[in-house]
């Protein structure tokens, strides 16, 4: 078991509203409260537009909440910090830097010596299986490879809180499964002294079930459910067939509006509206 002493992230009455160009006020987050323990792997799931990216931006310190307080490690977040690394939903690898320079960018910004940061960057590139393209330009890489660069970068920076915004959303199944393993290995190996807390946004139910210790379900700017997954790791296809997992999957699908709850039995019926419409 991971050491789970203390709280990594705490959101209190967090709200965020935006004024759209047409003057209408949009509530991206409405009075969100939650706590995440150190070292926990938390998945945020919810339909698009429900405020997931907004929440990550607030935690990253890129956006100040309209109201409420967000604390990371008992400090109120007011600005970005390399302690909180982010993998963005959009492609964020700098195209004008070679792959290796991208991975060591944050270390260079913080004045880490060139030999040391090069070694760290090469280590993590190796871990994500991209050692052979260290000197390449990002334009020469596929979408999946760029995501791996972003993952290597965020680990090279040594952040204790990792914010991943639908990082593998656009990838093919094989690449995605491979990257899940890479991510979980890197997350697990940091040991007891510096556990890494992960917030992973996704809209893929299976992805959440494979990765998470805990799943927060979002809907229109609110947390509507909070599931703990106690299934052992490493999780396989068989793990997903465990009764507890199947039940959770039905619950999540129901939250996403893909199934309806059947009264009485507690089970759910597969309507899978989206597939039939």
């Amino acid at each position: 078991m991971r050491l789970e002493n203390g709280i990594a992230i705490k959101a209190s009455q967090l709200s965020q509203s935006f004024r759209r160009a047409d003057g209408q006020l949009v509530d991206a987050l409405s009075s969100v409260n939650f706590e995440v323990l150190k070292g926990q792997f938390v998945c945020l799931i919810g339909p698009s537009g429900c405020g997931k990216t907004t929440l990550l931006q607030i935690i990253a310190g890129l956006l100040l909440p309209s109201s409420g307080i967000l604390e990371v490690g008992n400090q109120v977040v007011t600005r970005p910090s390399p302690e909180r690394g982010m993998v963005f939903q959009k492609d964020s690898v700098f195209p004008w830097m070679r792959v290796i320079n991208n991975v060591e960018y944050g270390l260079a910004c913080r004045g880490v010596g060139s030999g040391e940061r090069r070694a760290i960057a090469e280590h993590y590139l190796e871990r994500v299986g991209l050692a052979h393209v260290a000197r390449a330009w990002p334009r020469e890489l596929s979408g999946g490879m760029l995501k791996r660069v972003a993952v290597a970068t965020v680990f090279a920076n040594g952040a204790s809180v990792l914010l991943l915004d639908e990082p593998f959303g656009a990838l093919d199944y094989v690449t995605k499964r491979h990257l899940h393993n890479v991510l979980l290995t890197l997350w697990a190996e940091t040991g007891r002294n510096k556990p890494r807390t992960v917030l992973f946004v996704t809209h893929d139910v299976d992805e959440a079930l494979i990765l998470a210790d805990r799943i927060l379900v979002f809907h229109t700017g609110r947390i509507v459910d909070d599931l703990a997954l106690v299934a052992p790791r490493p999780r396989t296809t068989d793990t997903l067939l465990m009764p507890q997992m199947v039940q959770n999957k039905h619950l999540l699908l129901a939250h996403l509006g893909l199934e309806t709850k059947q009264a009485g039995t507690g089970a759910t019926s597969s309507i899978v509206r989206a597939a039939n419409d």
Partner: protein, 290 residues
């Protein structure tokens, strides 16, 4: 041998087109033999340009290097003519490139200041948008009164013309920097200076290329404009002097020199910027439809 063949395969058509243009000029000079003043054809043929005209440029050699000037009583010579071309071109180019450098740096700096903070934007933006609207050539006399008719005045004028273009170009380009790059750098611990040096400058450069090319053109215009009005040397000075005596052929030679120098500076800039932009997905792309 194969290299020569490859060269002609790539550039053969362009060379032929240039040759045809030169031939048309020659034919025109034979068809229209009108003279501006006696002995000065309106359209000087190449046989005139490369002999009489060229040698007459010795007039603009001011002496030295063991080659006496015409003013000192020496007869016109090709040596003096060549020295005249080189020294006057150098004078113009030093004014041009120094102005370009200063104007480029100051314009870029002020353009970046607009996005630095609220206060720097308020300080810089409105005055510069106002200054931008002043027509460049109308400012020549003013700059001469302020900075003198010598070196500083011309450099300052070029710098002004170029700086205004850079300012506008940079302000626009910065607006187009994708927010995700800035956010990414900030979450990795970049401070503001680092943001400008490692994110904003490289990502605005592709867009700034057009600005730089535009400013090269403006810089040539500005330096000549400054030289028309009171210079003792330089290509603009030769043009003004030639105009006074209706030396159309000399003006034509200077015009050819402009084309030559401008082509070289464009080519060098293109080479350099393509090298700097090798990270771009479709750099150096040539579009051919059909």
């Amino acid at each position: 041998m194969t290299e020569v063949r490859a060269f002609f395969r790539r550039h053969g058509v362009s060379i032929i087109v240039l040759g045809v243009m030169a031939a048309i000029w020659q034919i025109l000079s034979l068809l229209y033999t009108t003279e501006a003043v006696p002995g000065e054809p309106m359209i000087p043929g190449w046989q005139v340009v490369f002999t009489r005209t060229l040698i007459s440029l010795s007039d603009y050699w001011q002496g030295g290097l063991g080659v006496p000037s015409v003013a000192e009583g020496a007869p016109p010579s090709y040596t003096a003519a060549l020295l005249a071309i080189v020294s006057n071109s150098l004078d113009t180019m030093v004014r041009l490139y120094l102005g370009l450098l200063i104007g480029g740096l100051v314009g870029t700096f002020l353009g970046l200041a607009v996005s630095w903070s609220k206060w720097s934007r308020r300080t810089v933006e409105l005055p510069l948008q106002f200054i931008r609207t002043l027509p460049l050539l109308a400012m020549v006399p003013l700059f001469q009164l302020w900075f003198g008719i010598y070196f500083a005045g011309k450099v300052a004028f070029v710098a002004y013309g170029v700086g205004v273009i850079f300012f506008a170009g940079v302000v626009n380009a910065v607006k187009n920097v994708p927010q995700v790059y800035i956010d990414n750098a900030r979450t990795q611990g970049a401070n503001r200076v680092q943001l400008y040096l490692t994110i904003i400058l490289p990502s605005i450069f592709p867009e700034l290329r057009a600005t730089i090319l535009l400013s090269l053109g403006t810089a040539w215009g500005a330096v000549l404009g400054a030289e028309y009005l009171g210079a003792q040397s330089g290509l603009g000075y030769i043009i003004v002097y030639s105009e006074a005596f209706a030396y159309l052929d000399r003006m034509f030679v200077v015009a050819l020199l402009f084309v030559f120098y401008a082509s070289i500076s464009y080519a060098i800039f293109n080479r350099l910027s393509l090298k700097l932009l090798q990270w771009m997905p479709r750099v150096g792309r040539v579009i051919v439809v059909g």
